[in-house]
Symmetry: C2
Subunit: 305 residues, 2 copies
Amino acid sequence: MSLLVIGSVAFDAIDTPFGSTGKIVGGAASYISLATTLLHKHVGLVAVVGEDFDFDFVSLLKARGTDTTGLQIKAGEKSFFWHGKYHMDMNSRDTLVTELNVLGDFDPIVPEAWQQPDYVMLGNLSPQVQLTTLDRLTRKPKLVVMDTMNFWMDIALDDLKAVLKRVDVLTINDEEARQLSGEYSLVKAARVIRAMGPQTLIIKKGEHGALLFGSEGQTFFCPALPLEDVFDPTGAGDTFAGGFIGYLASTGRTDFEAMKTGIVYGSALASYCVEQFGTTKLASITSEDVDARLAQFRLLMTEKA
Amino acid sequence: MSLLVIGSVAFDAIDTPFGSTGKIVGGAASYISLATTLLHKHVGLVAVVGEDFDFDFVSLLKARGTDTTGLQIKAGEKSFFWHGKYHMDMNSRDTLVTELNVLGDFDPIVPEAWQQPDYVMLGNLSPQVQLTTLDRLTRKPKLVVMDTMNFWMDIALDDLKAVLKRVDVLTINDEEARQLSGEYSLVKAARVIRAMGPQTLIIKKGEHGALLFGSEGQTFFCPALPLEDVFDPTGAGDTFAGGFIGYLASTGRTDFEAMKTGIVYGSALASYCVEQFGTTKLASITSEDVDARLAQFRLLMTEKA
């Protein structure tokens, strides 16, 4: 099954109580691609970088199975850059610098070979760009998954609502679910958000796990793995989404039972992601590592063996 | 299997964003007894009340299967009273009034028939009283479970540490685990606390579920049921502990596998507790209701049916 990924491929600089990175590779689609290709190899990327980007990382994406034909490289321009600082609890963070650069006028050109994907992952990006991407597909995909964040709820809510009408699954965190729905209870929030379009909603609660609300009132919960240390949470949500849709694409399924296993894969991959700065850990693990972490999750979750 | 419960039986007044109760029955041992006797009938209570107490509630405890021989009634004295106010998030609360009354000099007299219990539940109470209770048992129980709170860590840490050496299972919440251990990571906190005595640790995370850390490095997570509304969280932790030990006592088991199911029972009962003010909901449900909620939990938790 073909899986199209769109999102930012960019530079980050990350400050945590444990240290600072300087400029490193980041961006939603970088994490999604690395996560997804651990589970499934038929993956195409639509994104944009400047000529300053780290092309060793692009080689890594290719080597791991991502078709980067749709990655635009803008001569004379700079890549998107985000600089953030995490607080002691590693849950909250401040944005210190955002330089849009090439993302400012990103036109998501979808290569002809990728205009009929089976699965689509709309990584966190301007809702207008997410919408344009969907408009450029020439056949309805089996499943469209969208990730977004509070920033777009603040500045582009109408566009965001327009995309929501066209996606099957939305992934957002608990605070964002409350903001988008105006409801504090996540059960009520899920009902309101699902009425906006997505049949299925995944609410990510970081270290507190993730909730899956299905199209027929089903609910499933997957915990986060309790870790000795959370080193850098950047990209955990993107990695989670990549693991989720990567598992589904690898099976060709879109039913609730498969989605349950999808969020276990997403959680397993996210638990690796946070163990080192940036994409370092995801870039170093293999499918055997994924299986080992999956086994740990199932021990943690399973009441009766 | 006989199960001895000790803890407060008292009056509460509860203010929430949804309303205020006036004076109602509360206290750790009230919740524990109601929860436990939904699962197991051989339960004895050691507690103290004043002559102002609500004796219909004592009749209810008896009717539900608690032996109240060990409930002292102090003539001319008043019952313990706590008045608290919950904030909008229903997680944090302020104490407005605490009147110790009969709890101030509580001497936990254990009736002779209850001096050799198989299971012991030390509900939240002064560690000195918890210790005295253990001293008065004439045979080592199969399992001692202790619940406590940050208040005792602040004012009676040495006594608390003395009790910890003599219990098998400790249940505390995540903030309390961090305070007691000095570690932010719950995995590290669990290691530090288990070295203080209890072989098994349960960290309660409220709406985010509960973590069970076993004596051989095993970890199990049970989610909280996502609810439309949390009406009153008072007693949820006590109810959880009551469900946990009630299930174990009903089976006669103390192994990790049984404890996993124990925390599912505890979580199921706690999810009922918060649906109405005080003990109202627990007092109205039956074992059929418990089974129905158990089934909901297993749907929520089970990846592969």
